[in-house]
């Protein structure tokens, strides 16, 4: 009998033995080493064992009886220290064993991120029964808290399991969304939401800095200083092949032991299988290819022909109640096309990736019924051109029409007592009664019920109630969707972002049923603004959803150059600033223009010069003038009581204070202010978004003026006595505008929609004004920063606009 020695009793080698004993019982005299003190078990089921949904006994694949029955000499708990290919012996801790054929199946080890503190007791990789037992023990302590580092498959399974055991669990993930290797952003978002429902905290883009503790793990510290208490840290940042033993024996290896398609290593009598092998540059972690390798290796050992080939893989997250499936390929490629299906009400997301009439990949969340069918199409490379239109609806809909989502169904389902208009407390039943009583247009409903008569954000809803109640008799008038990606209006989207606490673009796309994968140039800037205005602390501004001017902090000109404008507080400057501006203009060959907003604009600056000119101006004490933003632009002032014989108040001083308070804030459209020192109005305050005119008795605050395509005089908001009140009212008005207006509506357009009466009603409440100011402060704590100063080092400035690669010189030569 040939002597077969197997190192490692894992799932791959276990399957090899099963094949061997099936096909040729008694052909080999087998010795099986395993470093773990047990035989083969179903390692992929460790997560349910951790959660208690499976028992350790249940996942044993081969018990002592099985090994005895097949005459396997088991050396469990014994580490192999060396292989001598020349003498054909394996050295274990308890002595040598000779072999005719050797199978290395040493598997993989968890990758422990070398963070400071990674070697503290309580830091555990999640790999084997010992790890699982240690985690179960850790969870048994009352009040125990866990941090899982790595939001991949295994990490999330561990997190859910530990939560089921009663722990407080936080998942730290470096990428922007969970399971980024298997899922796209939308599915990752749904998963995060699902886990949050289980009480699991997820931090993405976590940037873990170190693990702290005195003798054992106590906390994890993030790059931003956040500290998370932890009595257990689970490292789940991937695996590394355990190839050391093979490499030490001189076998050819890359990242793991190199094998050919027959699973043979560089030594003809040594084979390798499983996670410790590298085949055509590929490493393996999922079980399906391991089983394929096992089948091939068994045949090779028996002298039969077979060859291992790479196949498409699919995977499912083993968290009970979380229905997620991902298969195939999402990698790059020209000519690929997405089919996306979302059902926000049921939390369903499906995405198919198609290329040349073949299905390449599928992600499914919340509805995995057709997973097997899609996976079959992927594996078989089926031509799907015939069923392309209905493909996403699965096999049941081939030849039949798919279900069509009815946007009005949700409104129809609302009970009569559901509140439609929050401002005036009007419920659906009241509106329906009015409609049935003859109010068949938005205007008559508004007049009779006061629904949508105030802030107007419920206009879309009222129209939908009209449409549901009247059916085809009602044609929605004027409510335009944001763009082609959605049926919803700006007002709907703003309302839903607040009401449903949507805090990311992926959340908006999914929950509101966007028809495109990631929006378009029309909706993205709007959604980005709504999110940052409504959730300043939770949402992170997305530069890729901004128009070029806001991304480059400068206005692009028609020739592709930019204009640069430093801030001059209240229109005041100094000789030093002027010298610096003049120097910069000469250095960067810029045209110089004095603007209508009392600033100096430098035109014609090349993109690559922007960081340098910003630095020069920063060095002279100036910051960005934000002349390029949908945000606070300028506060224009006259010289006021300091110099002017007519001046009644310090208009310049107030202008400077206002500008210092408001600068940096993002708004639905640009906002311009002015402060005039007397009713002669030299600062032209009466055509501004907010214009203050000083009088002997104090300050007249006007709002909603315009001097662009439309020209309109401001309307009086209020007269106040003190400077502080003027600043408080102005800020409250701007914050109310920030929170409620449609993107790209200037204040005068917004006020025309909601009515100055409503604005006055809100702002005349002192508590409301304070609250608006407080919310503005919160936003400013994040956004009042000088983008010019963001580039600190010379390296950052150089790389900011540098091409990814410069081949111009080579090409010219």
């Amino acid at each position: 009998m040939e002597k077969l020695v197997v190192i490692g009793a894992g799932m791959a080698s276990g399957r090899v033995l099963e094949h061997l004993f099936d096909a040729a019982p008694g052909a080999f005299d087998v010795t099986l080493f395993n470093a773990e003190p047990r035989g083969n078990y179903n390692r992929i089921m460790l997560s349910p064992v951790l959660s208690g949904e499976k028992s350790a006994e249940e996942i044993v694949t081969h018990d002592a009886d099985w090994y005895a029955r097949h005459g396997v000499a088991t050396r469990f708990g014994e580490r192999v220290t060396a292989i001598d290919p020349a003498r054909k012996v394996v050295t274990g801790e308890n002595g040598e064993v000779p072999y005719d054929k050797l199978v290395i199946a040493t598997g993989a080890a968890p990758f422990i991120v070398p963070l400071p503190g990674h070697d503290l007791p309580g830091v555990i990789g999640f790999r084997d029964m010992e790890d699982t037992g240690a985690m179960i023990a850790a969870a048994a302590t009352p009040g125990a808290t866990a941090v899982v580092i790595g939001g991949g498959l295994l990490g999330l399974e561990a997190a859910a399991a530990l939560r089921l055991r009663g722990m407080e669990v936080t998942v730290l993930h470096n990428s922007g969304h969970l399971m980024n290797r298997q899922l796209d952003e939308a599915a990752g978002y749904l998963l995060e939401k699902d886990l949050a429902r289980r009480g699991i905290k997820v931090i993405t883009r976590a940037g873990t800095e170190r693990i702290d503790g005195d003798g054992k793990v106590e906390k994890v510290v993030l790059g931003d200083g956040t500290e998370i208490a932890a009595s257990l840290v689970v490292m789940s940042a991937g695996i590394r092949p355990r190839a050391g033993l093979g490499m030490a024996a001189g076998l050819a290896a890359g990242r793991a032991i190199t094998v050919d398609a027959q699973m043979r290593t560089s030594d003809p009598d040594i084979f390798a299988v499983g996670e410790c092998v590298e085949f055509e540059g590929n490493l393996f972690g999922l079980v399906a290819p391991l089983y394929d390798q096992a089948r091939v290796l068994a045949k090779t050992l028996l002298g039969e022909e077979d060859a291992f080939v790479m196949r498409e893989l699919s995977t499912k997250l083993k968290v009970t109640g979380c229905d997620l499936f991902s298969a195939g390929d999402f990698a790059e490629g020209e000519g690929r096309e997405d089919i996306v299906f979302r059902d926000p009400a049921r939390g369903i997301y499906k995405r198919l990736v198609i290329e040349a009439d073949r299905l390449l990949g599928a992600v499914m969340y919340g509805d995995t019924a057709d997973a097997n069918w899609f996976f079959g199409l992927i594996k078989d490379g089926t031509d799907i051109s015939e069923m392309r239109e209905t493909l996403i609806f699965g096999p049941a809909f081939q030849g039949g029409g798919g279900p069509s989502a009815d946007p009005l169904a949700a409104v129809a389902a609302l009970p009569p007592e559901a509140e439609i208009c929050g401002c005036n407390g009007v419920c659906k039943g009241t509106i329906v009664t009015a409609i049935n009583g003859g109010a068949q247009t938005l205007e008559t409903v508004k007049a009779q019920t006061k629904a949508s008569a105030s802030c107007g954000t419920c206009t879309g809803l009222v129209e939908q109630v009209l449409a549901v109640t009247l059916g085809a008799a009602f044609e929605a008038g004027g409510a335009k969707p944001v763009c082609g990606c959605t049926e919803l209006t700006h007002e709907d989207v703003r309302r839903l972002i607040k009401a449903r606490e949507l805090k990311s673009q992926a959340a908006v796309w999914q929950e509101l049923g966007w028809t495109t994968k990631d929006g378009c140039h029309v909706c993205r800037p709007a959604i980005n603004y709504y999110l940052l205005a409504d959730w300043p602390l939770e949402y992170r501004d997305d530069p890729q959803s901004r128009f070029v001017n806001e991304r480059n902090h400068a206005n692009i000109q028609k020739d592709g150059t930019y204009s640069v404008m430093p801030r001059m507080w209240g229109g005041m400057t100094t000789p030093e600033e002027l010298l610096a501006i003049a120097a910069a203009a000469k250095k960067y060959d810029a045209a110089v223009k004095v603007t209508g907003g009392q600033r100096i604009d430098l035109l014609g600056v090349k993109k690559e010069d922007l960081p340098a000119i910003w630095k020069d101006l920063n060095d002279a004490g100036m910051v960005s003038g934000h002349a390029y933003t949908k945000g606070l632009r300028t506060v224009k002032t006259c010289v006021g009581s300091d110099w002017c014989r007519f001046g009644t108040q310090d208009s310049t001083g107030l202008g400077i204070k206002l500008e210092k308070r408001l600068w940096g804030s993002w708004t639905p459209h640009k906002v311009k202010l002015a402060v005039s020192g007397c009713p002669r109005n030299c600062a032209e305050a009466t055509c501004k978004d907010v214009g203050i005119v000083c009088v002997d008795s104090g300050y007249q605050i006007g709002v909603a003026g315009a001097a662009g395509m439309d020209v309109k005089e401001t309307e009086r908001l209020v007269d106040v006595a003190t400077e502080e009140e003027a600043i408080e009212w102005s800020t409250a008005f701007i914050q109310l505008y920030r929170e409620n207006a449609k993107y790209l509506d200037r204040p005068y357009k917004w006020v025309a929609k909601v009515g100055l009466g409503w604005v006055k009603e809100i702002l005349s409440d002192a508590a409301e004004r304070r609250a608006l100011n407080a919310r503005f402060d919160v936003s400013q704590s994040v956004y009042q920063t000088d983008p010019w100063a963001a580039l600190v080092t010379e390296e950052e400035r150089k790389s900011w606009s540098s091409p990814l690669m410069d081949m111009s010189r080579e090409a010219a030569e």
Binding site: I44, E53, I136, R163, R165, G166, R197, G199, G321, R346
Partner: protein, 311 residues
């Protein structure tokens, strides 16, 4: 196959009541030789609010009754003769519509260990609404003083996941906040089932089985949601445990080879076909079992899961 079917069991009687107009009528049961009680039951019907099944219907929630004397329990005399002392009624709702009421009856004495519990959402945590524990008094006490948050423990896990969950080895410190007390009572396997209710409350129903006096020796959880099996009236066996056959779940990931049940075929198929609970005393049950109970769980307007237990 050596199994002691004669061993004492925690649940003595299981019966099904279904609405017929404005009363509940008898629709099957396993009376395990308690013929007198069976006879008096078959002849009975309950109006809404009447008796234990009628109360579960009227209140839209599971009801535990631990003493029949002087209670609203209508068959008290027959029950006493049969040695039955406690009962739990589990209403099966599809939205606002009552499909059936499942009633289990037990006898309280020093031998019978086990737990049948009803957990209720009270302001964001699950607290014990009521439960029957037989002789597992310490476990009863611990349970009364335990609450579960979302995702925590068997009840919290079921609550958060919205699907039935089967947990093993409860007494060995596995995933069970009440593990110590469960271990001492010999409680080993627990199944948690979300119970939809037309009231505003959320209920989770748990059955916890001890080895000596088991509620069941085999448990199965079938997933019948369209998002899992498609439009066909079918179900996939997603988890299960059997003293005879061992683990019943697929070891694969994804579990494409999980056993599938179709409407009207086999006991689980009866539930898929009728949408009602099903009780069978064989023959034809897997692994030679003598009786089984299958309970449908509705969610979002569809028959979402079937939970089955066998003795």
């Amino acid at each position: 196959m050596l199994m002691t079917r004669e061993a004492p069991t925690f649940v003595q009687v299981t019966e099904i009541w279904v609405p017929d107009g404005d009363v509940l009528i008898h629709a099957g049961g396993n009376y395990a030789g308690k013929d007198g009680f069976a006879e008096s039951s078959v002849r009975t019907s309950f109006a809404k609010g009447e008796g234990l099944p009628g109360k579960a219907w009227a209140e839209g929630r599971p009801v535990v009754l631990k003493r029949f004397d002087g209670s609203y329990f209508l068959r008290a005399e027959a029950a006493a003769e049969a040695g039955l002392t406690a009962a739990v009624a589990i209403p099966v709702f599809d939205g606002d519509t009552l499909k059936a009421v499942l009633v289990v009856l037990c006898s309280e004495d020093a031998e019978h260990m086990g737990a049948i519990e009803v957990w209720e959402d009270k302001g964001g945590v699950l607290v014990l609404n009521d439960g029957f524990y037989g002789a597992a008094q310490e476990f009863e006490f611990v349970s009364q003083h335990t609450t579960f948050s979302y995702g925590q423990g068997l009840p919290g896990g079921v609550w958060a996941a919205g699907v039935p969950i089967l947990m093993r080895d409860l007494g060995k410190g596995y995933a069970f906040l009440r593990a110590d007390a469960a271990g001492r009572a010999g409680l080993s396997t627990g199944i948690g089932i979300p119970l939809p209710s037309p009231t505003d409350s959320t209920y989770v129903f748990t059955l916890i089985s001890a080895e000596g006096t088991p509620i069941a020796r085999r448990f199965e959880i079938w997933d019948a949601r369209a998002t899992t099996v498609g439009p066909a009236k079918e179900a996939l066996l997603v988890d299960g445990l059997c003293e005879v056959e061992g683990p019943l779940w697929s070891g694969r990931n994804p579990d494409f080879d999980a056993p599938r049940a179709a409407a009207w075929r086999g006991p689980v198929g009866q539930v898929l076909g009728t949408g009602l609970p099903f009780i069978s005393t064989g023959p034809g049950l897997p692994a030679g079992y003598g009786s089984m109970v299958a309970l449908p769980v509705y969610h979002g307007g569809e028959l979402a899961h079937v939970v089955a237990w066998y003795l």
